[in-house]
């Protein structure tokens, strides 16, 4: 069975926003693999192991769309166990929103041969939309299960996973093809071994441009094709500064008691030993 995983490079720790435009300054922080994608990759590798035939586990292919440096995320995937890596890289892809990113990824998979099983991270830490997996499944015409919080099994005849929905957990069973958006609780990501990580530094990464895709029409990619416009991005303002209260334990207990539900606004009893909240 062919298994694919969609990954993305995101800015590491200290990315900066352009104060004027509200846009992320790429290159302001070292790029890292989107933290959610570690879980997607681990789920893919575990599925490959569970579905292994007599010749061993099938190959997991990692796919990303991004600038040339996104190769770093693919090398991370290779280090962790992916067998093949593909980068969709063209200035024409820049500025794609969730819908057009999904379209571009779908084109990549179509050219490569759509895997029976595709794994995505639940969301990314930069875009944060959590939309790409479902838009991709829609493009490919395959069913998707999001917010996967546990994997029960992947067998030749089908899968069983637990899905976190508001208000409860649902067990979803189905067959292939299928796409999964994996949450952080679903699996425990492995570490790369040293030989694999060293090899991954030198392993080949396939790179395709717009011209390589089945539909090479430029107007269907990138910013121009994207219906979403980001008007402004800003950090929460946090204007209402709450200075820390410095009180002794008795006063603190009285304050907490006074704030308990059902007691708001009621007079707070003075702590034993005197002194009201200060």
């Amino acid at each position: 069975m062919r298994i694919g995983v969609c990954i993305k490079q995101v800015p590491g720790g200290s990315a900066r926003m352009d104060g004027e435009t509200g846009l992320l300054i790429r290159g302001s922080a070292q790029g890292v693999l989107n933290p959610y994608d570690y879980f997607a990759l681990e789920a893919a590798l575990q599925a490959a192991a569970s579905l292994a035939g007599p010749e061993g586990p099938g190959e997991v292919t990692a796919l990303t769309m991004g600038p040339p440096q996104a190769e770093g995320a693919l090398r991370e995937a290779l280090a962790l166990g992916a067998g093949k890596a593909l980068l969709l890289c063209d200035s024409g892809f820049a500025g794609a929103d969730a819908a057009i990113t999904a379209r571009t990824l779908a084109q990549g998979w179509e050219k490569l041969g759509v895997p029976e099983l595709i794994f995505c991270g639940q969301q990314t830490t930069d875009g944060d939309t959590a939309q790409v997996p479902f838009a991709l499944a829609a493009r490919l015409g395959i069913p998707a299960v999001g917010w996967v919080k546990a994997i029960e099994y992947f067998r030749a005849e089908g899968f069983s996973v637990l899905q976190e929905l508001s208000g409860g957990t649902v067990r979803v069973r189905g067959g292939y093809p299928a796409l999964f958006a994996i949450g952080r609780e679903a699996v425990q990501p492995r570490a790369a071994s040293l030989p694999r990580r060293l090899e991954a530094r030198r392993a080949p990464v396939t790179r395709w441009t717009l011209a390589d895709l089945p539909d090479p029409a430029p107007h269907r990619y990138g910013l121009a094709a994207s219906p979403t416009r980001v008007k402004r991005i800003y950090a929460p303002l946090g204007e209402a500064k709450t200075p820390p209260l410095r009180v002794d334990p008795g006063e603190a207990a009285a304050l907490i008691l006074g704030a308990l539900p059902g007691r708001e606004g009621q007079p707070v009893p003075p702590p034993s030993g005197g002194g009201g909240p200060g």
Partner: protein
């Protein structure tokens, strides 16, 4: 350094009377000065009113150095700001900070608070406990796993504002006050006279040698010789390449063989590529993390530890030349195979961000030991941290590891051995379960202290003497050095406000008896 110079004394809440040693004390008052002048005012007031004074950072110390013994606590909680960033005359980046700034706040400031072109700098010392303060790090001369390359915190200071126990403020730029064979000049024209050639005699505490900077001499003085009021930290550029690898073994001997063979990789290449960390974990430490990882939120991002590994060696390397580092790692891998290791039993991270995850392993062990200690203390309130941070010449590490294991087994005691194998500084932690085991644990620490000093090693080599190790040092350290330390304290703190003499010299059955 403007602002008021008077600070109110407040009643001291019990939360400020303990630290991570699980010792507790008491104090009548606490003061939260906000700048060196205020701190000097508090110190003078303690002297005038005859209060014993305890200097306190974040209380993450594990030997009780910040636990008060009555009187007044001087907390650095409100001296927690970065002050000034500048380049020195050589162009080196320097950040001046207040002593109550935590390592975590420092990291955040370096990545987000500096002017944009200066981002990407870091401060190498890292005692792994991110809530610890820089002042506390100076007080203990903190040495984290990367001390193999970077040494203690004191070595990374460019200057220091020091407040004496009499409340005088000294400025100590690196290079101005140095020891010669007979002592060291002090600010104000006086002199600290001593024999600077005396061997360490079991402790680095206030240990002079010719050429030593006064600043380095005071690093690790545990709040017993004065107060670090401001610190100028020498920063470094982040290395272009960094690797972290954990090698796991099914046999302890494999881990020790491997570590010994790595010994040849110590030192730097001409381009500065070097092994910065060489840590060891015994099977009990790995078991502890295995069982604790699911219960401890911070450890959940560790990779799975489900294989039957019995020991591990963790290394970190950094440098500018990435291919050269990769060559070094290929060499390590060959040594690993030769020591019986299997390639798949490794965790490797090729960036600073990724290797942070593995650092959780190092931090998790002492953290989980303390959790376990708290659990045991519910039934056994007299239980304290019962641990040794002996330092022995690195070639003896294997023998010591074996001695710790054999002695614990013979005494039927539960214990953990982990730490800085590369520097011969293994931590051995015991978890006695009843009064009799506490007694036997203390006997073992005494036996190991005697052995260590006999081999030219150090007692209390990392976490300070505090209120837990004075007895060991008194019993097994050299009497000449002991007298020297007392004579220094008489000069540096003539009124004994900071209580050094009694703290380092506990009654035989008191807290200092570990």
């Amino acid at each position: 350094m403007t602002g008021k110079t008077e600070t109110d004394l407040k009643p001291c809440p019990p939360g400020y009377c303990l630290d991570e040693s699980r010792l507790s004390g008491q104090a009548e008052f606490i003061a939260f000065p906000e700048n060196p002048e205020e701190a000097a005012g508090v110190i003078r007031r303690a002297a005038e009113e005859g209060f014993p004074l305890t200097i306190q950072g974040a209380r993450t110390g594990i030997t009780g150095g910040a636990v008060p013994r009555g009187g007044l606590v001087l907390s650095t909680e409100r001296m927690n700001r970065p002050l000034e960033f500048f380049r020195d005359s050589q162009g080196a980046p320097v950040l001046r900070v207040q002593p109550g700034m935590s390592f975590e706040a420092l990291g955040n400031h370096l990545s987000r608070g500096l002017p944009v072109p200066e981002r990407g700098l870091y401060f190498p010392p890292n005692p792994t406990e991110s809530t610890a303060t820089l002042g506390g790090g100076f007080g203990c001369n903190a040495q984290g796993p990367n001390s193999l390359r970077w040494g203690g915190l004191g070595a990374h200071l460019q200057d220091l504002t020091w407040i004496t126990p009499a409340g005088e403020i000294w400025t100590l730029p690196r290079g101005r006050y140095r020891f010669d064979e007979t002592g060291c000049p002090l600010p104000g024209g006086s002199r600290l006279s001593c024999d600077s050639l005396l061997p360490a005699g079991g402790s680095r505490f206030l240990h002079p040698r010719p050429g030593l900077d006064l600043l380095d001499f005071l690093a690790g003085s545990e709040g017993l010789a004065g107060f670090a009021g401001e610190l100028s930290l020498t920063l470094r550029g982040l290395p272009a390449a960094a690797w972290g690898v954990v090698y796991f073994f099914e046999e302890d001997s494999g881990a020790l063989n491997f570590a010994e063979s790595l010994g040849q990789w110590r030192g730097e290449t001409s381009g500065g590529e070097a092994l910065t960390t060489l840590e060891y974990y015994d099977h009990s430490s790995l078991d502890l993390v295995r069982s604790g990882a699911s219960r401890t939120a911070a450890l959940r991002s560790l990779p799975p530890l489900d294989s039957p590994w019995k020991a591990a060696i963790q290394v970190e390397l950094e440098g500018e030349d990435s291919p050269l580092l990769e060559d070094m790692l290929t060499g390590h891998l060959e040594l690993f195979r030769a020591a019986g290791g299997r390639e798949e039993d490794t965790w490797a991270a090729g960036s600073l961000q990724e290797l942070e995850k593995f650092r959780l392993l190092r931090h998790g062990v002492p953290e989980l030991i303390n959790t376990e200690l708290d659990r045991l203390r519910r039934e056994l309130p007299e239980l304290r941290k019962t641990a040794g941070d002996f330092e022995i010449p690195p070639p003896l590490a294997r023998t010591y590891r074996e001695t710790y294991r054999r002695d614990m087994e013979e005494e039927g005691l539960r214990g953990f051995v982990f730490g800085h194998l590369g520097e011969g500084r293994l931590h051995v932690n015991l978890l006695p379960r009843n009064g009799e085991e506490i007694r036997r644990s203390r006997t073992l620490l005494d036996r190991w202290a005697a052995l260590t000093v006999g081999d030219g090693g150090l007692i209390a080599a990392e976490n300070g003497i505090g209120r837990l190790k004075g007895g060991l040092l008194r019993r097994y350290g050299s009497p000449e050095r002991w007298n020297q330390i007392e004579s220094f304290l008489r000069v540096l703190d003539p009124g004994n406000r900071l209580g050094g003499v009694e703290i380092l010299n506990p009654p035989e059955n008191g807290e200092g008896r570990t």
